[in-house]
């Protein structure tokens, strides 16, 4: 028996969450869930770990702050120090108050942009990428559960019992 992908389509978010709880109890492993909007409690129901992209954002912010500090030091105090308006730039520390706005802006700039890029990269999203949802209705009002299993009949029953509107079976390897 070959492993197949079985899809169950639900019409309601509450039904979907109940179905997931039932599958969890019965020990059926869920491969993926596609929803049109963020569902509260879905990540815990699926046992997803907390995402770490906000931790990454923190380090991107530190990077931006360091970059701004080095840049202002190099340009204003090291490479070409000038006496501007009777306010000489002898040391970076003495000049620091004037650099705070730049340091702040670059911290935000790096944290926001690099975090967004990280989000796109880890989610494998880029301009022109193929749509990741197998059924176009999941961006409208339907909720799709994807399960990979060899026991197609058992999964089908589980879907129907939990109120799925539609069950589809697909071969994992394309039929020759």
């Amino acid at each position: 028996m070959s492993t197949k992908t079985i899809y169950g389509l639900y019409a309601d978010d509450d039904e979907l969450l109940e179905a997931i709880h039932t599958f969890n109890k019965e020990g059926i492993a869920i491969k993926e869930v596609y929803t049109p909007f963020p569902l509260h409690g879905l990540d815990t129901a699926l046992g997803l770990k907390k995402t770490r992209i906000s931790d990454a954002a923190f380090f991107y912010g530190i990077y931006g702050l360091t970059l701004a500090s080095l840049m202002t030091w190099y340009m204003m105090n090291h490479d070409w120090p000038q006496d501007i308006g009777g306010k000489p730039s002898f040391t970076w520390f003495e000049n620091l108050p004037a650099f705070i706005p730049i340091m702040f802006e670059l911290t935000i700039f790096c944290a926001a942009h690099l975090m967004s890029l990280t989000f796109l990269a880890v989610s494998k999203m880029y301009p022109g990428a193929k749509a990741q949802n197998p059924d176009p209705r999941t961006t409208d009002d339907k909720f799709l559960v994807e399960i990979e299993s060899a026991d197609v009949e058992m999964i089908k029953d589980a879907f129907i019992k939990t109120g799925a509107e539609e069950v589809t079976v697909r071969d994992l390897t394309p039929v020759k």
Binding site: L48, I53, W80, I102, H113, P127, K130, D141
Partner: protein, 468 residues
């Protein structure tokens, strides 16, 4: 799962909407040809935009002498418009970032358009300093780029340079924040698109979004952190804009009240512009069930609060101007001298448009009226324009020596450029309204069961029955 929300809260989505209804309503303007009204507005905006382009071309070709500037007033119309446009932008970020942190659900119906307004307003703002350079083709010299002048770097002590960093960070972060929120909505349009061309475009724009559970989890986190980053950013931007004046030694400008006063004024004018746009858009685009009277009212309340803050700042400035007994202070934009001086009309226009008329919003009937909201929002924008005009022109017009006293009057070119930026703004906004999902439908669907009218009614009835 409980979707309970207190019945004392008004529903945010009116009527008997399902998830699919939201999809259809939001996709409607994109999937159908534009009406006559849209074409009329678009042609008008395009014509004024092209007129502005002509005036800009004339300025660049001939020189800054085409403007009404003079020896005492080297900075007037352009910087007024710059500050005005940047200020307008502030409401978008406030709605999408600050209100997200405060978990205000009503923001979901208005944040997309408010953010669009932010981005388009910042584009208009950026035009003014660039053309005032006189040689806009070397405008990139404001960035820290290695060069052949012995590496002669930019001056990081200058508030004008802080502005460059603040505005470009603000613009780019706003675009990214807006775009990340758009991904699921573009995907919705993509999955409905029938014509191959629009399918291709929206596939490109949606970057393959599929609504996977893990991706939603990351997306929620991303929005939260971006909101956390954008919140101090939005307060910093107008603070730094105010530094352009506050760090100088010109009387009336050299004032510590400027940063908070500018930020409050920016939010005040920004919300007014949101009201101007949305009170028309909800009608023309049939979004009445999503942008309700209650949405308009809460935004009017923000206008009351921020308008109150600027009014207090005006009173403070006026008091200081009078009480200091300094003859220089009597020439500042908020002083008895200004109220009766040659710019008395600009002074009283500000008081009328920013303090007295918006004061009508304290009356419940008026702040819940679409008509009066629209009128007052335009009045506030006029008033906020005069505020910047007063700050800049009145303060500069009376130099320290009477020999330098002068007046500023804009030329036809000055006025043309300003009108042109208004045209450009509406060109962008009208194009946006036809091609983008104007309401963040994915977030709206997530609150439908708790804040939708029919669901709410159903909850209350159920609870009522349980009591007996």
């Amino acid at each position: 799962m409980s979707h309970y929300e207190s019945p004392t809260r008004q529903p945010l989505v009116r009527g008997h909407k399902t998830y699919h209804d939201i999809t259809v309503d939001i996709a409607y303007p994109i999937e159908h040809p534009s009406g006559k009204l849209w074409w009329l507005a678009f042609s008008l905006a395009m014509a004024t935009f092209l007129y502005g382009v002509g005036c800009i071309a004339y300025t660049i070709g001939t020189g800054i002498g085409t403007w009404g500037l003079n020896r005492s007033i080297g900075w007037a119309w352009d910087i007024t418009n710059f500050v005005w446009w940047v200020g307008i932008g502030h409401a978008g970020t406030l709605i999408s970032a600050v209100l997200l942190l405060f978990r205000q659900k009503w923001r979901m119906a208005v944040n997309r358009s408010a953010e669009a307004m932010t981005i388009f307003a910042v584009v208009q703002a950026a035009i003014f300093p660039v053309i005032h350079m006189g040689r806009p083709w070397v405008g990139y010299w404001v960035f820290p780029i290695p060069n052949q002048f012995g590496s002669f770097w930019i001056n990081f002590n200058s508030p004008l340079l802080w502005d460059v960093f603040a505005i470009s960070t603000y613009f780019s972060v706003s675009v990214v924040f807006w775009y990340m929120g758009l991904l699921p909505d573009f995907a919705m349009i993509r999955d409905r698109a029938k014509k191959p061309f629009s399918k291709k475009i929206y596939s490109f724009l949606s970057m393959g979004w599929g609504g996977k559970a893990k991706h939603w989890q990351r997306h929620e986190e991303l929005e939260l952190v971006l909101a956390g980053l954008a919140t101090p950013l939005v307060f910093s931007v107008h603070t730094i804009v105010s530094f352009d004046f506050a760090t100088s030694i010109v009387k009336g400008w050299h004032s510590t009240v400027y940063p908070p006063y500018f930020v409050a004024g920016a939010i005040f004018s920004g919300f007014a512009m949101v009201q101007t746009l949305l009170s028309v858009m909800r009608k023309v685009m049939h979004m009445e069930d999503y942008i309700t009277r209650d949405h308009i009212e809460v935004m009017n309340k923000v206008i009351i609060v921020t308008g109150g803050m600027v009014a207090v700042a005006y009173a403070t400035e006026f008091w200081v101007g009078w009480y200091s007994g300094s003859r220089y202070e009597d020439f500042t934009y908020f002083s008895p001298g200004a109220a009766v001086g040659p710019y008395w009309w600009a002074f009283w226009a500000l008081i009328l448009c920013n303090v007295l008329i918006p004061g009508l919003l304290w009356i419940r009937k008026i702040r819940r009226s679409f008509f009066w909201t629209f009128i007052i929002s335009i009045v506030v924008n006029v008033g906020m324009w005069f505020e910047r005009f007063d700050i800049i022109v009145v303060n500069l017009s009376r130099d320290y020596l009477p020999g330098g006293w002068t007046m500023f009057m804009p030329t036809v070119i000055d006025v043309g450029i300003f009108i042109g930026t208004n045209g450009f703004f509406f060109v962008l906004f009208l194009l946006y309204a036809r091609t983008f999902p104007v309401i963040s439908q994915a977030s709206l669907k997530s609150i439908l069961k708790s804040s939708g009218e029919s669901y709410k009614k159903h909850h209350t009835e159920e609870e009522h029955q349980n009591e007996h």
